[in-house]
Symmetry: C2
Subunit: 392 residues, 2 copies
């Protein structure tokens, strides 16, 4: 019996969760442009432009820089399956969901994984990682630059030095930092990095930009066995994105149109201006949240600008509050994951969504949600946010 | 130095290659609809509708039926990594690029792969597969229903019986047949199947619909080690697409809007009507091609309707002819792969692109391309095609 559905009419949400984030109108329009073939000369030129722009946004000259045809987790897996062989030793900092996931993915490559437990909501200490390494050598040191599950920014200033001590490649998750927080792949000596399109690039989810440097390429060239994933095998995929243009898989054409436009907007704004904008709105948001009595989960010096985690106040029901935001304001914020489930809200101000309008909307709507549950809100969050803007 | 590019203006091609195919206007528009969160209740309802429609198009009641977040090759890899463990025996029919790829993907799972070589441009014989099996048992029998590299339709009528003899699961590639050629997952006893969105579904590339039955699920439940790919692990992904709604990865929201609309159009047309349409236009195309002296690569009873392969005539330069089509007519057809490179054209009439208008355009343009190289075209391809239509 055939089912007949109507054409979709998705609601118009304001996306202030951990991603996907609000998509710029011109990015949405780009998705709908005419599909062309993945070997069309016109498409090959688009691919070159995407690679060029991605290198700028990653601040790298890495040849191996392009978007993988999957979401951020596919980018994570790409880095691990290409760099690791069974028995390789990996050191992973685990202070949230994505460090946990890195360790799991590495284990599935047959690696010997040493997990270094950190505190959820805090940055990893290089000394803790060093101590856990206990003088051993490692193939890969894996860290999360921006922990999307907790809103923690990892200080990477000591990471290259530590990787050198370990004899390791430095692999970094920057899903939530790329284009929203300073990130300098070459200057910081990062060997392999992956991101996603649905955070500070403000493109819908579906692609994972990656970049790997010469040390990583040497490791891949020296492999003794094929990469366990054919779909994510960079030695094959680079034949398509490189000069050879050899067919590997059919590239997701229209998603790449969207990424092209998203990258164009990032470079038009300028990286420094974009980082400053993310920083400015995050500060105003936090000021407003604190005025309402909501406590940030992360100390100020370790806080991500694109994503702010706050504790759900005592006596407030997480699910009911988020349903209030969604139903009354068409506003999405994120709940917590793992040990933060039910007790934490994650509020994103990413890319096109990092605006004064969204800061004010979110503060107003949260106040309404707290009041709807009989919560007492004594301070004036909007005044506090305005005050923060005026100080900027 | 920042690069500044203009917004994209991709050319308006007519896509008559092996895919991507022409995208219906309402599918393009669906891609641009407002992005919402992957856990938004409104999105969960969209997911349920997609699953329901996919089951109808696959003609299955399989619970495990949903689109993977990657292209067709990711769907292929999903089936193999979830069903196989190291040392498992796999029998693969290899009569084109995609059989070759299946064997390679299975090897990367650590399987013992027996490749049964077939002829490119011909269907596999069940007796040849049986002989190669030599009385041994296998975990998986893998066949390509629609060989996109050659335009061959595999007769699957003896496949279930053979799989039973081998004690094997029946795994089938239907990337180019789904929604373009009869395909009955349950009735034919297929245990695992994958497809792509960019062929007869007429959606842009980027998703891979899959379906796995109860025998396949039993094999997965009995695994002794985790699936080597975290990204493609169905035990995790089914927690998101199923009732649990557990976050695994961020679903490619807007691509799923496109698939929703594409499936809606398929069911609105009706499967039987759609298959008949593909058949009718393919027959007219072939009549026209033969009238021009172009020889089909595949005997008529083994020919795919959605994709027709013909030999490039003696003395005609493949690349120059396809460039003529692209530059003079904005028309893409496909070249050959592997042993067919340079000597074969692949002409797709898929989904929204399977139309009388496209048949006539392609015949006219090909005649022009042959004449541009001094080729003699004696017959009248358009009259021959019209004649075929009038016989229908």
């Amino acid at each position: 019996m055939t089912q007949h559905f109507s054409p979709l009419t998705p609601p118009q949400r304001v996306l202030m969760g951990p991603g996907p984030s609000d998509v710029a109108a011109s990015v949405s329009s780009a998705l709908a442009k005419p599909t062309i073939g993945h070997l069309d000369p016109a498409f090959l030129e688009i691919m070159d432009q995407i690679r060029g722009m991605l290198r700028e946004v990653f601040q790298t000259s890495n040849e191996l820089t392009f978007p993988m045809s999957g979401t951020g987790s596919a980018g994570m897996e790409t880095c691990f399956v290409n760099l690791l062989e069974p028995g390789d030793a990996v050191l992973v900092g685990v202070n949230g969901v994505f460090g946990t996931r890195m360790a799991e993915v590495a284990r599935r490559c047959g690696a010997e994984v040493t997990e270094v437990p950190g505190q959820w909501g805090r940055s990893m200490e290089m000394d803790a990682l060093r101590a856990a390494a206990a003088g051993k050598k490692f193939k890969v040191l894996a860290l999360v630059h921006a922990e999307t599950s907790t809103g923690v920014l990892q200080d990477l200033s000591g990471a290259r030095g530590l990787a050198d001590e370990l004899g390791a490649l430095l692999l970094v998750d920057c899903v939530t930092s790329l284009a929203g927080h300073p990130l300098k792949i070459d200057e910081w000596g990062i060997d392999a990095v992956y991101s996603g399109t649905q955070k500070c690039l403000s493109c819908p989810p579906g692609l994972s930009p990656i970049s790997l440097g010469t040390r990583a390429q040497e490791v891949m060239s020296a492999r003794t066995r094929p990469v366990q994933s054919w779909y994510l095998d960079l030695s094959l995929i680079s034949g398509y994105w490189g000069d050879e243009r050899a067919y590997h898989h059919t590239a997701p054409i229209n998603m790449l149109y969207g990424l092209h436009e998203a990258l164009r907007l990032v470079l038009e704004e300028g990286l420094e201006a974009r980082f400053a904008r993310h920083h400015r709105h995050a500060r105003a948001l936090v000021a407003g949240l604190e005025a309402m009595g909501l406590e940030p989960r992360v100390p100020s010096e370790e806080r991500l600008a694109p994503l702010t985690a706050v504790a759900v106040p005592e006596g407030i029901d997480d699910g009911a509050a988020r349903a209030h935001l969604l139903n009354e304001f068409d506003l999405e914020i994120g709940g917590g994951l793992g040990p933060m489930k039910g007790n934490t809200w994650r509020i994103g101000l990413m890319g096109a969504g990092s605006t004064r309008r969204n800061v004010m909307l979110c503060l107003s709507a949260l106040r309404s949600a707290l009041r709807a549950q009989g919560g007492r809100v004594s301070g004036d969050p909007l005044a506090a946010a305005e005050e923060a803007y005026s100080r900027a």
